[in-house]
Symmetry: C2
Subunit: 445 residues, 2 copies
């Protein structure tokens, strides 16, 4: 008999079927054992009767998370016993069982509300919880929708390198590794320079790969590695073309996840995501700071960047006034952006750059990049970087590149905000940070 | 006027259009300058007449790879001047030009047959060649088709970590990096252990990410980082279920690339890829060695693995006798496979593992994995590894996991074989090896 997926049981009422699944729950009622089975497609209840001695004895040995093959009869429940849930109208009556993997007693109740460290210590087990699986089902849809949205706009995927020869952006927080023959190499903090090279090749490109940050912060926001969703496009007028594309892509992602995962959103009581009928609201950093001052009295007008509190305020403001969970903030000062950022001719000292805020935090950063070879060279020097370190990259500019720009967006942070999860580590399958690579690291302090 | 893509010019004959593109070629004929323009969608010829003084003067300053905006009239060529190529029926007559980026003189003729080191030194330029762009267009389709094929079979994507706590597979060639507070970490050589953990979560999973090998070989086959296409699935009978899935996936990939890129295959004179009407041929390692002995006299029957020469022979054999560019070789000895490989009860000493050979080389390795906790623990010890290092991973087995298996397949190698490229580095956008990270590394010898 070939396997029937649990989601298809409803088409087999009255028939004998074979199901292969994990035991999600066991309840021994003396003369009856109830099992809840879970496979990749859903879950269903099984009743094991004591009359069927062999199967009954097997069922009594089962611990949660054991894996079985079950031969069973699919029975329709009497109307008054029907439950308003998937497979709520049916029940399996066990007839034969093969135990494929007998689980140990779990170290805690599966639905227990664990502290984050216990949760992370036991990921091979805790990732199996329905609420946790939901997060990563949504994550898979986000990354897939990101790629789809860009493919629809003529972008082509490329594989950006993870090992790089230097700390290209001149920032802190880079991991160093031993390369061959005592040479040093580094882990990429972003695919930025390669994306720009690829604009010269394909005009419109995207990448979805890991980037690495050796940031010495053990917070709910920091990860040592994360999945970066990046695109870059040529022949733009200015940063607003990039903002339009990012708006298109994020709308596509939100529509994809909410349509595909209606059940998950309902079950987890996740707030509807507000997409304005008009375009996403936009303001410059200066305008944002003026608004904050006017509305809250907090005067950050001389700051070069937003505080977390500011980002939260601007998002509530956009929600209330523009019916939008998204808001763009543009024109960060030259000093706060990397060397390749384009300065706005009409607003000297400020860049054609932007952050996209969503539900209280920045989820994407982007802007127009410098495409003029000489201007770029001058900026590398101005940033106290060495042009020699950029020789390879600079070829893209020496040999013709159009005005271009792009964005980077963290998959895990976006997942967390969509799913309304506070700690980004819970939206990361196997999070790495200062204190943890799978297991807790002895930090020798 | 808004931009028209070059591929759409044929719909604008007789009209004025704006084109934005790279200058693929410049030919100055004295009273006429001919340009070939290239954008992401294709290329087309432009004629610049001396009557139009301003544009003519601009055209004369252009070097190949410069980027321009061109206002032009789309003219149909007289019948005898039509060329049998895309846009061969039309020509643009330049009317106005804006130079967006003026390129330097190229360091070599664009179509010159470069040695590999010169090619790699100048990737931001050499990647723009049509033949090279073709390779990476096909590569983008391969990775996309891999994901699609698996999504169609109910697999879900996950993000495997790149930074790991140890060298899990106990092999050589692992990169070490400085982590936080003097701790060491390593770069993943494969997502293997995480894929198995994820079988416990989603039953069927795939990942497409970078893996790293510190192999001290400077050959045409070795890369320090490459993109690994991986899947893993639960509830299998044995390795043959994995082979069936891999066959389905590779057939899907081949069909996708050949259908989508007919032009590229034709232009680059790539041989048709043979997919047998029956299933891919399969033989055990022993059978393969007997066949090689019988047909060539080469006696490798006591060897635990195939030599490159053997792989080439088996592929020609499959091509001639089975009309197939693919052939599976199964049952490698226990000693040649990692600790988690399942030993065949019916053939002690040999594993339920396989290689898939394609056009002369192994392009994928896979098999059934041990799912029994105690057997796995015993093997870890047998392989002289420490169970303590595997505590995190072992939880997946302690708490119930079905019989499962999967495969790994290198994207770059598969691309190279499909495109009939000899050196895998030419099928890798930014190859890293012993001697190179973008630029040549001073190897201090």
């Amino acid at each position: 008999m070939s396997r029937i997926l649990i989601k298809d049981l409803k088409n087999h009422i009255g028939q004998e079927v074979k199901v292969k699944a994990w035991v999600d729950a066991v309840r021994d009622h003396g003369k009856l054992v109830f099992l809840v089975l879970r496979d990749r497609s859903g879950s269903a209840q099984v009743v094991v009767k004591s009359e069927n001695e062999k199967v009954f004895a097997q069922a009594q040995t089962l611990k949660e998370e054991s894996v079985i093959e079950l031969d069973a009869l699919v029975k329709e429940r009497p109307d008054k016993m029907k439950k308003n849930e998937i497979n709520g109208e049916l029940e399996l009556e066990a007839q034969g069982m093969q135990i494929l993997s007998l689980a140990d007693v779990l170290p805690f109740e599966k639905d227990a509300d664990l502290n984050i460290e216990t949760h992370l210590d036991h990921l091979p087990l805790t990732l199996r919880k329905n609420t946790v699986r939901n997060i990563f089902e949504v994550q898979a849809t986000i990354i897939s929708a990101f790629r789809e949205a860009l493919k629809n706009e003529d972008f082509i995927e490329f594989q950006a390198p993870a090992i790089v020869g230097g700390d290209a952006e001149g920032g802190a927080g880079v991991f160093e590794l031993g390369y061959f023959k005592d040479n040093k190499a580094y882990l990429a903090t972003s695919p930025q320079l390669y994306k720009q090279v690829m604009v010269g090749v394909f005009e419109r490109v995207y990448a979805t790969g890991k980037v690495f940050r050796a940031e010495k912060h053990a917070t709910t926001r920091h990860l040592a590695e994360y999945t970066s969703l990046d695109f870059e496009m040529g022949f733009i007028k200015d940063h607003r073309d990039i903002m339009d594309m990012l708006e298109k892509v994020t709308r596509y992602i939100i529509k994809s996840v909410t349509q595909k995962h209606t059940n998950i959103f309902d079950e987890n009581k996740i707030d509807d995501i507000l997409l304005p009928e008009e375009k996403y609201p936009v303001m410059t950093l200066k305008e944002a700071q003026e608004l904050i001052y006017k509305e809250t009295g907090r005067d950050n007008r001389s700051e070069p960047d937003l505080e977390p509190e500011d980002e939260r305020f601007l998002c509530s403001w956009a929600k209330e006034n523009k019916n939008s969970d998204f808001i763009f903030i543009t024109h960060y000062p030259v000093s706060k952006r990397p060397f390749y950022t384009y300065e706005d001719e009409n607003m000297p000292g400020y860049t054609k750059s932007f952050d996209l805020l969503f539900r209280g935090v920045e989820i994407s950063t982007g802007g127009q990049r410098i495409h003029d070879y000489k201007m770029l060279l001058k900026n590398i020097e101005k940033w106290n970087l060495s042009p020699k370190d950029f020789e390879f990259y600079l070829q893209a500019f020496k040999f013709g590149i159009p005005p271009h720009g792009g964005i980077g967006m963290g998959l895990e942070r976006l997942t967390a905000k969509i799913m309304q999860i506070k700690n980004v580590k819970e939206a990361t399958l196997f999070p790495r940070d200062m204190t943890r690579i799978d297991k807790f690291i002895n930090t020798k302090e």
